[in-house]
């Protein structure tokens, strides 16, 4: 049966695909799109326990993926997932994510904690988590606007030893009280 469409018979395939034609590697965008189902749109997470990946440095992404793969960094799904991708994939993902704009979140935060966190941050954290956590030195992650539940999960892993703190971080974190750390997390969550 041949149907007629508004009096017109459509006989043209304007788009032609021939998948075997030529080699072209999948683009970084295609790779990063595959992450979006869990990490959100344009690297910005809509789920409070999952991190935003936008604006992370390439090094931060590559190092995180390698640590997931080796098991050095604890995870639920990422340790398995990382084994499905290569170092070259990590680099391509990191390159693209580093160019995505910081994902600003709006969260319910305690203003007093934010203020206290700010005072602690400058003296203790800002050499690696720069610009109020909007930038990371080398492989230090971007902290700004991350969801409080995500930050809290990570801090708990550092404190219970399942995630290893870098030495410089341990020097700063160990003398701090839980209240101090809570204030710091509120501060970073507030930065846009």
């Amino acid at each position: 049966m041949k149907m007629r469409w508004s009096g017109l018979a459509f006989t043209v395939g304007a788009l032609t695909l021939s998948a075997g034609a030529l080699a072209a590697p999948p683009t970084a965008a295609m790779l990063v799109n595959a992450c979006a189902g869990c990490h959100g749109v344009n690297g910005g997470s809509a789920g409070p326990s999952m991190p935003s990946l936008a604006n992370q440095s390439k090094e931060a992404i590559v190092v995180a993926m390698k640590k997931f793969k080796s098991g050095e960094r604890p995870s639920t799904v990422m340790g398995k997932l990382a084994k499905g991708y290569s170092d070259a994939d990590y680099a391509a993902m990191g390159e693209l994510l580093s160019k995505q704009k910081l994902h600003a979140t709006t969260q319910t935060l305690d203003a007093a904690k934010v203020a206290k966190g700010k005072s602690l941050e400058e003296a203790n954290c800002s050499r690696c988590h720069m610009e109020g956590g909007k930038e990371g030195k080398e492989d230090s992650p971007v902290m700004a606007s991350q969801w409080l539940p995500y930050l809290s999960i990570q801090m708990n892993q550092y404190l219970d030893g399942t995630r290893k703190m870098p030495e410089k971080m341990a020097e700063k974190v160990k003398p701090m009280s839980k209240t101090d750390l809570d204030a710091l997390m509120h501060f970073y969550a507030s930065v846009k």
């Binding site: 508004s6 017109l8 459509f10 395939g13 869990c38 959100g40 809509a46 789920g47 499905g84 991708y85």
Partner: protein, 443 residues
């Protein structure tokens, strides 16, 4: 609307029976993209028309395809989405509604996000496809021409596998396997059930959509009953010989959380259902009379896929070229989501449909941007979560890589597995995962 049709009319008329060669096509497209500057519908001439992709079905597969076609082409492709329902209701997380932990509105979204990307959303029912003439007809008699078609019809039920039950005469026997009115209706039945009542869920033989979902549903109904109807019984009547997903996790949840509530019975393929008495009979073993009877029939590709001759496997599923998701039966038509004949160990799930759609969109968009489509599609990751009560969940995940020898995706075994244990942290991840998956599909 008129402009839209006009654009196609001009393009098609000028083209006549043209056989656009590749170079001409790319040149025309590049000019079209440059001239259109993202606003595809204005200033169309014969060589500057925007290609038109029609997407049938606004679930996880279809909506994601529409979104990525617009994003990937920077607005250079016109996209029309045809969806029967006025809004989007998520099947993932719908068992939380059935168990009473969430409301239907918590798992419902609209199509405004897609409209903001320039997707034209038509709420209608696609009833016929002409793969040669490249057009789609809707139930209201209207018709749409397309350059490429994405078919994402999800699943339909094989009522013939449950004698006594039909779509029209199911009465109080619900499937609730497509989220929406049946989700709410099943919740109401469970609320209305007397303490001491029996909730029975009948699971079809694999493959069916969302392997873990029936077992999760049993857990969440049991969680509700534990507090509100402690003398109730939750019966799982499985046509398969064992639990089909997250076996250890479900077995331990049933024995630890619901020891006198949940009973699992494998090897229970249905022979008939008596709707009036809510009794189900099996090929072997005793009949079961339930107070709330939830029968999930066997499934196959949605009706439009069958009507269009896209079903190539076992009268059930659509065979596709995994590099592009293009139908093996009809060129120019891409099939995504649960309607496809799954690659080995590939689940039929929301996240997988979302990933299928991105493969299809990339393949459709590439020539328009002057790129040759990648010869091998990307490696895709898949995650899904099951709740065991209103807070504790566990994941199942897998990574699938394209295998040229197999001409299909294969499972990457070291990247695939389930949580060691259910937990509250994963319960939070499960809900966060849903937020991000909904955003990636619709935002």
């Amino acid at each position: 609307m008129q402009d839209f049709r006009g654009a196609h009319f001009a393009a098609q008329k000028t083209g006549g029976t043209m056989s656009f060669d590749r170079r001409e096509f790319l040149k025309a497209t590049a000019a079209g993209l440059a001239a259109a500057g993202g606003g595809a519908l204005t200033g169309c001439t014969a060589t500057k028309h925007a290609a038109h992709v029609v997407v049938i079905g606004g679930g996880f597969g279809g909506a994601t395809a529409a979104r990525y076609l617009r994003l990937g082409s920077a607005g250079g492709i016109d996209v029309t989405l045809i969806e029967r329902q006025p809004g989007f209701v998520s099947f993932p997380m719908s068992n939380l509604v059935i168990g009473g932990a969430k409301k239907l509105e918590d798992i419902s979204r609209g199509y405004d996000g897609l409209r903001a990307h320039g997707v034209r959303v038509i709420h209608g029912n696609a009833v016929a496809i002409d793969p040669v003439g490249r057009g789609v007809r809707l139930a209201d008699g209207s018709a749409l021409g397309y350059d490429r078609l994405v078919v994402a019809p999800g699943i339909d039920f094989m009522w013939e596998t449950v004698p006594g039950l039909t779509a029209e005469a199911a009465g109080p026997v619900l499937h609730a396997w497509q989220a929406g009115a049946q989700t709410t209706a099943l919740r109401k039945q469970i609320e209305a059930m007397a303490d001491g009542g029996v909730f029975a869920i009948c699971i079809p033989r694999t493959p069916y959509r969302c392997l873990a979902a029936p077992y999760e549903r049993a857990c969440l109904v049991a969680h509700y009953c534990k507090t509100h109807k402690p003398r109730a019984k939750v019966l799982i009547l499985d046509a398969n010989d064992d639990v089909q997903a997250q076996r250890g996790l479900f077995m331990s949840a049933w024995s630890e959380l619901y020891p006198n509530l949940v009973e699992y019975r494998p090897n229970h393929p249905i022979s008939s259902v008596d709707v009036a008495s809510k009794t189900v009979r099996f090929e072997f073993g005793d009949a079961v009379k339930a107070d709330v009877l939830n029968v999930v029939p066997s499934q196959r590709a949605g009706a439009i896929a069958r009507q269009a001759g896209l079903v190539t496997a076992g009268n059930r599923w659509c065979g596709i070229d995994w590099r592009t998701m293009e139908s093996l039966a009809h060129p120019g038509i891409h099939v995504v989501g649960s309607a496809t004949l799954a690659a080995p160990m590939m689940p039929k799930s929301a996240h997988m449909s979302n990933q299928h759609a991105k493969i299809a969109a990339a393949a459709i968009v590439a020539p328009l941007l002057g790129r040759v489509p990648s010869p091998e599609p990307i490696t895709i990751a898949h995650a899904g979560y099951s709740y065991f009560d209103d807070r504790n969940a566990a994941h199942m995940m897998s990574v699938h890589a394209y295998d040229a020898k197999l001409a299909a995706y294969r499972l990457v075994p070291e990247s695939s597995g389930v949580s060691a244990r259910r937990g509250e942290a994963e319960g939070k991840h499960a809900w966060a995962w849903a937020q991000n998956l909904w955003a990636d599909t619709l935002a």
